[in-house]
Assembly symmetry: C2
Homo-oligomer: 315 residues x 2
């Protein structure tokens, strides 16, 4: 019995390998596209992580397709492209898949009626993507200035033509928005409840973590007693969309991320190769903890290990 246990433990351990000069070439050669998470992989808050430009350049020069997949819904794709440029990296809008874009695309592929409105508990990025997709968004930062006070005989009005509530990270969250979204979901027949993602916390500034969209989404689950449709990682909605657009089989994609429960799970759910980087929220001890059942194929300290190990492998 003991022998069996230790054998299976060894097997478990060999499943997740440290990226090294022995295996990096195999990984890179067997992959046509690299999907990068952004926060904790490309940048941390507003600081670029070391060696990112060289890494992306190396992979591009090898003919690899690059896609940047982020659960952060605060920005639209064009706002993310601007952020990449400000950090000295040239990325096109088409290479970016943010959960704000995913929310708009979910409505589009599901033929959401153009005469219905979308109430947004979230920031500018969601509103911008909705508009680009031809939908009418309400709420967002604007409603962060409004108040809903509990006064006798006051009646809170909401728009009966709202057919979907999209909830993402919202630093302007307030009781007004919570009541607005709750009324739409509870009272407008067939109103959709869409979550950009459910990350509990995120490295939204350089120095610390903050409540993520999972906080606002949970609040709405608490008041409506309903579960949302999730369009960001680890849901495979974005992956299905990517597949159609690039026509690359998921087995020839590698998901690179810093989170086990979103990035790596997303990659595993979709049948991708997976690489965990330790430059974000996950530590080696969390990865190796017995309570963790999400095992990436490879792990490494940061993305710049890829070109460095490739050089070492060539020597």
């Amino acid at each position: 019995m003991d022998g069996q246990i230790s054998e299976s433990t060894v097997k478990e351990k060999t499943k997740c390998q440290s990226l090294s000069h022995n295996n990096v070439r195999d990984l890179v050669d067997s992959v046509d596209a690299f999907l990068f998470d952004c926060d904790g992989v490309i940048w941390k808050g507003d600081s670029l992580i070391d060696g990112v430009p060289e890494t992306l350049e190396t992979l591009r020069s090898m003919g690899k397709k690059l896609v940047f997949v982020t659960n952060n819904s605060r920005k639209s794709r064009s706002q993310y492209a601007k952020k990449f440029r400000s950090l000295g990296i040239s990325v096109t809008v088409d290479e970016i898949f943010s959960s704000s874009f995913a929310a708009a695309m979910y409505l589009k592929v599901n033929d959401f009626p153009k005469d219905k409105k979308v109430y947004v508990i979230g920031e500018e990025g969601i509103l911008e993507e909705l508009e680009l997709a031809g939908f009418t968004g309400l709420g967002g930062p604007e409603d962060g200035k409004k108040t809903a006070l509990l006064r006798p005989n006051s009646f809170f009005q909401h728009d009966k033509s709202v057919g979907a509530v999209v909830v993402g990270l919202d630093q302007y969250i307030n009781f007004y928005k919570l009541q607005y979204g709750t009324l739409c979901i509870r009272e407008n027949p067939g109103c959709l409840f869409i979550a950009t993602n459910q990350d509990s916390v995120g490295h939204l500034t350089d120095l610390q973590e903050w409540p993520g969209a999972g906080c606002m989404v949970a609040a709405m689950c608490g008041s409506t007693q309903k579960e949302p449709i999730v369009v960001g990682k680890p849901s495979t909605f974005m992956m299905d969309f990517l597949l159609k657009r690039f026509n690359i089989p998921t087995s020839r994609m590698c998901m690179v991320g810093d989170r086990l429960d979103t990035d790596i799970l997303f990659g595993l759910n979709a049948g991708c190769r997976t690489l965990l980087v330790l430059s974000g929220v996950t530590s080696i001890s969390t990865l190796e903890d017995l309570s963790n059942h999400i095992q990436p194929e490879y792990y490494s300290s940061q993305v710049s290990d890829i070109p460095q190990l490739l050089s070492a492998a060539t020597l």
Copy 2:
């Protein structure tokens, strides 16, 4: 097989009886204390429900002990006593058990250190009860005016001496409070996470329902990935406290409420008699719906049915 099914269905149905002149005397005679929920039973928003003063007077004249148990944490016990008085009902502070008081009592009976602070996501009632119990509260409505903006290099400071976060209904909920409470629970060793209650919505104004404490509590569960200690209904913490104070066995108490998942469950959990009134959030169709598994012993349209049926029984 068919016969067995219909027999068990009949049994299920006879379990919950409509209060009538045939059974009201049995119920009242077998009970020493009536525990009343407030919202939807005594009042709706700021309007008294018909016949309440006469009902309470009748029961008092029969020597029954009356206790008012509310999950609404916005007010302290003395603020509730004032509300009762403004509605023309005389109730003492000792007869009121609000979830704001329960939160303070939970800390007291568990010897929460006086040199530790309590961060409050909630309103004045919680802060007042904490102070009366000798604890130092932070946050509350005051922090509703503060903002936490996601700026590069800004660092959100929190008090390391916070040993408990109490979360209740909060119409001034914002990102600042969510980050403050999340940091305390995630970073202060041993910090307690206490929920006054988890009601999804509540009739906070006369005309409509609003997100309840369950919304704010869920938000904190979402960001901390922890489950709270619940002190309000249906947790029996308040009941254990009541038992010690009044020395009346729960089998001789009757819980009267308008909610199945808090009031009636609370009564059933504690071994009380139970009476559901239909003057609040629960309709007869919800009660009789097959998906509902919480069955009170009796139901009636409103509390004033008690004296009316008693009179009819005497005739």
